[in-house]
């Protein structure tokens, strides 16, 4: 393996001071538990001379709920997330993601913050965080800012993270009585697979079961970037969940997706499947809302 140095910060303040002096660049890269790092080094996708190991910063591993806002620390693993009692039946969507996320040994190390910062279409968590309208908190020495995750994700492996910043947590509102959220994914098999397409949906309905707000995200809206499908969302708004007919939306969905082909699947297949996944995710949300 290509040689590099590993810097192990003593604590969080030490980390902020270190990245203030040594800003993140092609030469310096932050890693959480590193589940995709060895692969990226061996494929020469990552050529950093120094890795900064965040895995010991236990203070960034938490799931909290305050005034209806759920906050998840950046170093919370997928296993930690779904074993938290705060992730209740309304947020079952995270367990749905987890059940199709790598295998047990990957879920035990892959972190929420690592998924967000990796910013690739293979991260199954991102569509769900997008439809939950999650925000991210970014810290640097003496500074802090909170921005929507939608603004944070700039493109394939591109984020709004400044060279001296670290993502410390993501937060989103709890799913209330009139809302539901669902996730669907399709790949070659159930475990350890990168999705051809995945899809997350969030619906909020009014008293007469009309969709007040719809949020839809796919991992491949524009090429290889996870993003919201805003035009599809607009079309869903105001419709009744009892007479829902997603099929009529197919032209809108197809018009909005810029799917690209690769060795996993063709662009056409991805668009076809995206429509099916949206239907299934919508049905799951509707089923849940009707059951309340």
């Amino acid at each position: 393996m290509r040689r590099f140095d590993m810097y192990v910060p003593a604590n969080f303040d030490d980390l902020l001071a270190y990245i203030d002096e040594h800003p993140i660049s092609n030469e310096i890269h932050l890693i959480a538990n590193g589940s995709d790092i060895i692969n990226r080094i061996q494929r020469r996708q990552l050529r950093a001379r120094t890795l900064v190991d965040l895995s010991g910063l236990d203070e960034l591993n938490y799931v909290k709920k305050e005034n209806g806002t759920i906050r998840v620390g950046a170093l919370t693993t997928i296993s930690d997330l779904i074993s938290s009692s705060i992730i209740d039946s309304r947020l079952e969507v995270f367990r749905e993601v987890a059940s199709k996320f790598g295998g047990p040994a990957i879920r035990n190390v892959a972190t929420v913050g690592g998924n967000i910062c990796a910013a690739s279409s293979s991260e199954d968590l991102l569509p769900v965080l997008l439809v939950l309208d999650a925000k991210v908190r970014l810290r640097s020495k003496g500074n802090e800012r909170v921005i929507p995750i939608e603004e944070f994700l700039k493109g394939k492996r591109q984020t709004d993270l400044k060279p001296n910043e670290i993502l410390v947590e993501t937060m989103f509102e709890e799913v209330d009585n009139r809302s539901a959220c669902a996730f669907e994914k399709i790949g070659m098999r159930n475990s350890l697979i990168i999705a051809f397409v995945n899809c997350a949906v969030y619906l909020r309905v009014d008293e007469s079961s009309r969709i007040e707000e719809a949020r839809v995200a796919f991992n491949r809206v524009a090429g290889k970037t996870p993003a919201r499908a805003k035009r599809t969302e607009e079309q869903l708004k105001g419709t009744s969940i009892t007479t829902n007919n997603v099929s009529r939306l197919e032209p809108v969905i197809r018009g909005e997706l810029r799917t690209s082909p690769d060795f996993r699947a063709s662009a056409e297949y991805r668009s076809d499947v995206a429509c099916v996944l949206l239907k299934r995710a919508m049905n799951k949300c509707i089923h849940e809302l009707e059951g309340r």
């Binding site: 040689r3 060895i38 895995s55 047990p104 040994a105 990957i106 035990n108």
Partner: protein
């Protein structure tokens, strides 16, 4: 290149080693500590063969930097059972002939041991989920699943 002092516990024994930044946990276990029961499969996190238990959780040792195991407690296949006194899972794997080439078996035993420690009476679905990250190219998994069921009964002692 920076060297690190790695202190950790492997199979109940404390170790202190000087490791390089780029050394993988898998190589340290196999080459520095001589624990060759942990196998290297794909080296990319796809096959799960290199799995070990770190602080009561399964991790792929090929994807973990050695230095990230600092202050952690590790369990490898060497700590499960002895030749005279097999773990019930090992016994059941033999009874069911669930090992053919045997290459995935250390990881299979470790992940199903974790399962049975937490879930003494697992459903077939739970057994399948627990081995879902580990590829076996010989058995078709059927015999492995049967062996885990047998071991679960044996461990619960309700046969």
């Amino acid at each position: 290149m920076a060297k690190h002092l790695l202190k950790f516990t492997v199979n109940g024994k404390d170790h202190a080693l000087i490791v390089d930044s780029h050394e993988r946990l898998l190589d340290v276990l196999r080459d520095r500590l001589g624990l060759r029961g942990t196998k290297e499969g794909c080296s990319t996190g796809d096959c799960g063969i290199c799995a070990v238990i770190m602080n009561d959780r399964l991790v792929n040792s090929c994807l973990t930097f050695a230095i990230q195991a600092r202050n952690k407690h590790l369990t490898t296949i060497e700590a499960i059972g002895t030749e005279e006194n097999l773990h019930p899972l090992q016994d059941a794997f033999m009874k069911w002939n669930a090992c053919q080439c045997g290459f995935c078996i250390p990881a299979m035993i470790l992940t199903t041991k974790l399962l049975l420690d937490q879930t003494p009476n697992p459903s077939e679905q739970e057994i399948k989920a627990s081995i879902s990250g580990i590829l076996c190219r010989c058995t078709g998994y059927y015999k492995i699943i049967q062996a885990v069921k047998t071991a679960a009964v044996e461990i619960r002692g309700d046969n």
